[in-house]
């Protein structure tokens, strides 16, 4: 009953907050931002699970490490519309505690995976051996993966790696007096319900990156290489092309080790370097099981002047996968 009453109070409080909202909005990209991070593959799933983590040299661990040592590709979408192509310094870190967004916990193992200077756009780090981070290469040659950061993450995880070991990748970008730490988690999972191919029952499969097939503006297709002319105050309706067939059914373990069947419900975050979107993000299913239509309206704002506008649409599948589309338009009042 107390919780129900809180719902009513919360509705009132939100109403009050809505009355005094700040002008800055997530969809309004006007300074240095990290809009999304993807890793390819989005998930590394071992064929079977190891519940006794002390058996670090067992065959199952070795089998898992064969998968988990797969190098990944890291890509961050960095927007810096006011920077005019300025240099952005970056560093990529990983460490044992996902709660440590800056990899600065004293005494925790941490590893710098890369660094340098970039400009706004996509920052790519290829062939990142994240799963082998911290492993003694000489010992690994003898089949011993002990010392891997994965195990350090597992020890600090209150769930002890249940469902997946979530290894953090913390990107630090800095330009001028603007500074961002952006975290992406990489799930190292295992198949809790292994079975022969074709056998009945739920099957756990590694995640596939969600990719929007395209997007429309005011109902018209909007190609990547096209600069769409937009005129007037709007709003202009942005909508992805149908993608429902791409949303995966997937199986996850319950705490009682029972399979729970679930379906992805993608969410799209909408961004532009002029004006704003409403809603800022759409999609996903709520607690009542009702899915939201993925659609948003862009408005240039009352003080906007003629401009080339860049749009970004970042899609997330709710299990670690994400990707984005970039589009361009020329807007006139």
């Amino acid at each position: 009953m107390t919780r129900l009453r809180l719902i009513v109070v919360a509705v009132g409080a939100l109403t009050l907050v809505a009355c005094v909202g700040p002008e800055d909005r997530p969809s309004k990209v006007h300074d240095l931002r990290v809009l999304g991070v993807r890793t390819d593959p989005p998930e590394l799933m071992a064929p079977a699970c190891i519940f006794d983590v002390s058996a670090a040299q067992g065959p199952l661990v070795q089998q898992a490490f064969t998968i988990w040592s797969t190098p990944i590709r890291y890509t961050a979408l960095i927007a810096d519309p006011a920077g005019n192509g300025r240099e952005i310094s970056w560093e990529l870190w990983t460490c044992a505690d996902p709660g440590d967004r800056t990899c600065s916990n004293e005494g925790d193992p941490r590893f710098r995976l890369g660094g340098g200077v970039t400009v706004g756009g996509e920052l790519v780090v290829e062939q990142l051996p994240l799963g082998l981070t911290g492993v003694d290469i000489d010992r690994l040659a003898n089949g011993d993966p002990s010392g891997a950061l994965l195990f350090e993450v597992l020890q600090r995880d209150p769930y002890k790696g249940f469902d997946s070991i979530r290894v953090p990748l913390n990107l630090h970008v800095k330009a001028g007096d603007e500074e961002i730490w952006a975290q992406k988690l990489v799930p190292y999972s295992c198949n809790y319900f292994p079975k022969a191919e074709g056998a009945p029952g739920p099957t756990m499969r590694p995640n596939v990156q969600p990719e929007l097939p395209g997007v429309t503006i005011d109902g018209k297709p909007w190609r990547e290489d096209e600069v769409v002319a937009l005129t007037g105050p709007g709003p202009f309706v942005a909508e992805p092309l149908p993608y429902e067939d791409l949303e995966e059914n997937f199986v996850r373990p319950s705490f009682q080790l029972e399979p729970v069947e679930t379906k992805e419900s993608w969410k799209v975050a909408w961004y532009a370097d002029l004006g704003f979107f409403s809603p800022e993000e759409s999609g996903g299913a709520n607690l009542g099981g009702v899915e939201e239509r993925v659609r948003s309206e862009w408005s240039p704002g009352s003080t906007a002047t003629e401009k080339d506008v860049t749009f970004w649409f970042v899609v997330r599948d709710g299990r670690g996968g994400q990707s984005w589309l970039t589009r361009h338009a020329h807007w006139r009042p």
Binding site: M1, T2, L4, R5, L6, I7, V9, V11, G12, A13, L16, V17, V20, P22, D24, V34, C49, F51, D52, R101, T102, P158, Y159, K160, F162, D163, E178, E179, W181, A182, Q183, L185, P187, S254, F255, L257, V260, T262, K263, E264, S265, K267, A269, P279, G283, G284, A285, N286, L287, G288, G289, V290, E292, R293, V294, E297, R316, G318, R319, G320
Partner: protein, 896 residues
């Protein structure tokens, strides 16, 4: 009648009784013997007023006679249980020998015994003895028996009728009705129904009616020879709207018990007449933001303080989460508030106790009221049903749902937007007892019964569909409860027993999209409070308090991350829907034993409460020793102290296996201590200073531990008894009780409330409920012409908050949200809160009813108080959420 050469006459003009506008004090000696002392729930009520059976003329003082002076002497008369006058104190002396003469006469009066709760009892009344100087008459007037003067040879006539209070229709008893100013004129006293019969000479009669609390009523009647004239006189109250009853002042066993009378409950500015919100103005209670009504008592969480309705716990205090309380103020008699250190008859709370007492329906005639304001309309009716049976009924229904569509803007999405909040509540009480005027039979037990039912229903329906909306939203929330209670009070000699069984049903429902969750709870319980008043040194109390709850939770909900599966940050997948049904049983049986030991100025009350529980299959046992000590060297000063253990059982649902609950949970506990003193300056003004230290432990906090089993399965428990808390401070209350025209108080609290989690390296930090200084001043004054003005001023230290320490953005690519970086928890405070509220009432008195209108203006000078803060989406800038701006609320109430 006194006679002399100048034929001075004494006119006992105003006989004052009942409804005393002075404080309703009672004879100090009466307290021990006549108060049932049933530890807080029962308040003795005057059920039969004393009647003057034998009047004695005072001797007109020689000095006054020489100066031809008139005078009125106001006195407080203590009437013993046998009707004799045991003490007389002059309240308003007149000098010139009048005081001594009046006291000497009054000491010889004989009254019929007054009855408190149907039992003869000593009471104290106010009485005005009027001396009127008149010249000796030219001729003597024949006197008849009974003081009725009838002129020989003139036909007699009978004037009979009823005296009724103008505006309320209450019957005016013990009023003196006279025909003319002649000292030998016929006179009569009105009875309990306000009826009188006066036999006098036929012809013109200048009728004068004098009653305490009423203006002198005068009229002229032509009385028919040998006939009867029947009349109804409506007397004008001296102070409109004032009603109370004489009752015994309850002895305090607890260190702090603050009582609010109905008058105070309805007239404190800024509380909208809401009785629970009025309690927030007492010491020890923190201020809630946005005027919400939750009670944070001595730094304890709101759920740690229980609110009872005639001893039965109310599952829901406020309509719509923070709206009006479910308790209709008209139905109340008083509210007792224990901020801590309460007696052993109360339990299941580690904070405070609020005990709301209902009142018996009127026994003279039917009365009622209708109250209308912007939110709702409430109706209250009370009436005698048959002799010995009275009933009171109250009901309220909101119409916010009907008015909101006129206020809400058009759906910005172009679809359909409906927000339909609705609530109603009701209370019914039927009393059975001795018939009016029924004589008591010595040596036979006395019985009183009442049955009561009350309940409340809230629904909130939100529908947002169509238009440009990406997702249709439908939300249905309902909370409902019903309670039925019986109460049997039995008295025999020095024994008093109150047995109160009850039953109830609660419902909570939530439908959100495809999810549907319902909770049905069935309640059974009973209380027994027994008291044995052995002698002046020892009173024993014992009783039991049983409670059984059967909860059924059922519905269809999706698989929830964190409960059944480990979620991914920011994930909102489409999951399976699951049907479920869970049943929870919880029994808590408690017994208590308490004794009042009194030796001279010392009184010591040791007590123990022991409980045995079976909650969702788990057995728990608790013993809670408590001790109260009071040292009262004078009538006006007392020192007091208390120490005791208080516990609160876990909810049955929290004992679910992981991941929904934690079966190992035990009772939350608090060791409460206090020390203070009371000083009474006048009959109306008194000071209470109390220091306290409360240590809380085994508090239930979330999350609980996670256990990993060898097979790889996990148990993530929701809760653990790892919360620790401590609260200490000082409470000061300078209070002016309700008098004829004024009530008010100044409350100050110096408070510190801290908490930590056991096993955490972090030391105690301030809780969000900590408010160092809380100053509240409340006053209400009755002006002439039916006006009443009230004001409330509050100054409160700002609530602790955690500072924003943004150095750089922290972005989660999974959730697409930014982490807001903050400093030490609750290490800074919001700005202080200060606010002035005003209330102006104006009533118009009609013959049979009273119309009361009021304007309650919150935040008169529009202080921009900060009630909450929030940040921009990156956590860079903090924004303040202001409190309620100046807000006038108008209401109308009709009473008859």
């Amino acid at each position: 009648m006194a006679r002399g050469p100048l034929s001075l006459s004494l006119l006992p003009w105003v006989f004052v009784l009942c409804a005393a506008p002075l404080p309703t004090w009672a004879y100090e000696g009466a307290v021990r013997h006549d108060e049932p002392a049933d530890a807080g729930i029962h308040v003795p009520v005057l059920t039969r007023a004393p009647e003057l059976l034998h009047f004695v003329d005072a001797v007109y003082p020689e000095e006054a006679k020489a100066l031809q002076l008139d005078a009125s002497v106001k006195m407080a008369i203590t009437i013993g249980a046998d009707g004799s006058v045991t003490d007389v104190q002059v309240l308003e002396p007149a000098g010139h020998g009048f005081d001594e003469a009046a006291v000497a006469a009054v000491k010889q009066f004989q009254f019929s015994p007054a009855e408190v709760d149907g039992v003869p009892a000593p009471v104290q009344i106010e009485y005005v003895y009027n001396f009127r100087f008149t010249l000796p008459p030219d001729a003597g007037t024949p006197e008849t028996d009974g003081g009725v003067a009838v002129d020989a040879g003139v036909p007699t006539s009978t004037l009979t009728g009823q005296l009724i209070a103008r505006g309320s229709r209450h019957r005016v008893q013990a009023a003196l009705v006279r025909c003319g100013d002649d000292p030998d004129a016929a006179e009569a006293l009105s009875d309990e129904d306000g009826r009188f019969t006066l036999v006098t000479s036929a012809g013109g009669c200048d009728v004068k009616v004098a009653a305490n609390g009423f203006q002198l009523f005068q009229t002229h009647e032509e009385l028919p020879p040998n006939g009867t004239l029947e009349v109804r006189y409506f007397l004008m109250p001296e102070v409109v709207g004032y009603q109370t009853v004489v009752r015994g002042q309850r002895e305090k066993k607890e260190v702090v018990r603050r009582t609010l009378e109905r008058q105070e409950l309805q007239k404190v500015p800024g509380t909208f007449g809401d009785p629970v919100r009025v309690i927030q103005n007492f010491p020890g209670v923190a201020r809630m933001p946005f005027g919400l009504g939750q009670l944070i008592v001595r730094g304890a969480a709101p759920d740690d303080t229980k609110t009872m309705f005639d001893g039965v716990e109310i599952p829901l205090l406020f309509h719509l989460g923070g709206g009006p309380s479910v308790v209709n103020a008209e139905f109340l008699d008083r509210v007792d508030f224990y901020p801590g250190g309460f007696g052993s008859r109360y339990g299941r709370a580690i904070g405070g106790i609020v005990d709301v007492a209902t009142r018996k329906g009127a026994s003279d005639t039917w009365h009622g009221s209708v109250k209308v304001d912007l939110l709702d309309t409430s109706v209250f009716l009370e009436a005698p049903v048959v002799d010995g049976v009275s009933a009171a009924v109250a009901a309220r229904r909101s119409y916010v749902d009907a008015l909101l569509p006129f206020v809400l803007p058009e759906d910005p999405e172009g679809g359909t937007l409906l927000v339909l909040p609705r609530y109603w509540d009701y209370q019914v009480r039927v009393d059975f007892g001795a018939k009016r005027g029924e004589d008591l039979v010595p040596g036979r037990p006395q019985n009183r019964f009442y049955v009561m039912a009350f309940g409340s229903d809230d629904t909130l329906q939100v529908v947002a569909t169509g238009g440009g909306r990406n997702r249709d939203v439908s939300l249905d929330v309902e909370t409902l409860f019903h309670r039925m209670k019986g109460d049997w009070t039995w008295r025999f000699g020095k024994m008093t027993s109150v047995f109160a069984p009850y039953a109830g049903y609660d419902k909570a429902g939530l439908a959100f999209g495809e999810a549907d969750l319902d909770l049905d709870r069935y309640n059974l319980g009973a209380r027994e409070d027994f008291e044995l008043d052995l002698d002046e040194h020892l009173v024993m109390r014992a009783g039991f308090d049983l409670q059984f709850q059967h909860l059924v939770a059922h519905g269809e909900v999706p698989v929830v991350s964190g409960f059944q599966v480990r979620g991914w940050p920011g994930a909102e997948p489409k999951t399976e829907m699951e049907d479920f049904e869970r049943t929870f049983n919880a029994f808590d049986g408690a017994g208590y034993l308490e004794a009042d030991l009194k030796f001279g100025p010392f009184s010591i009350t040791p007590g123990i409460r022991a409980s045995q529980s079976r909650i969702h299959g788990q057995y728990r046992h608790m013993e809670e020793p408590r001790l109260f000590v009071r040292f009262q060297p004078t009538d006006r000063f007392a020192l007091k102290a208390s120490a005791g253990l208080y516990t609160q059982p876990p909810d049955a649902a929290t004992l679910e296996p992981a991941p929904l609950g934690s079966p190992f949970l035990v009772h939350e506990k608090a060791f409460q201590t206090s020390l203070g003193f009371e000083q009474r300056f006048t009959d109306a003004i008194h000071l209470d200073v109390t220091g306290y230290y409360n240590r809380r432990y085994d508090l239930i906090v979330s999350p609980g531990p996670i256990e990993v089993h060898p097979d790889g399965s996990r148990e993530e428990f929701q809760y653990a008894n790892e919360g620790l808390g401590r609260a200490y401070g000082l409470e000061v209350l300078l209070r002016h009780d309700i008098t004829e025209r004024f009530f008010g108080w100044i409350a100050y609290t110096l408070n510190r409330s801290e908490a930590r989690r056991a096993g955490s390296p972090r030391d105690y930090v301030l809780t969000s409920f900590d408010q160092t200084h809380i100053l509240t001043a409340v006053g209400s004054y009755r002006l002439p012409w039916g006006f009443e003005v009230g004001a409330r001023f509050r100054y409160v230290t700002g609530s602790p908050t955690t500072p924003l320490v943004h150095e750089y953005d922290q972005y989660s690519a999974e959730t697409n949200r930014f982490r807001v970086a903050r400093g030490e928890p609750n290490s800074v405070r919001q700005p202080p809160f200060h606010q002035l509220d005003l209330r102006i009432d104006k009533n118009w008195l009609f013959e049979s009813w009273t119309l009361d209108t009021y304007v309650d203006v919150q935040n008169v000078y529009n202080a921009q108080n900060v009630e909450a803060t929030y940040t921009d989406y990156r956590g860079r800038v903090e924004y303040e959420v202001p409190g309620i701006p100046i807000l006038p609320v108008i209401g109308v109430k009709g009473t008859f």
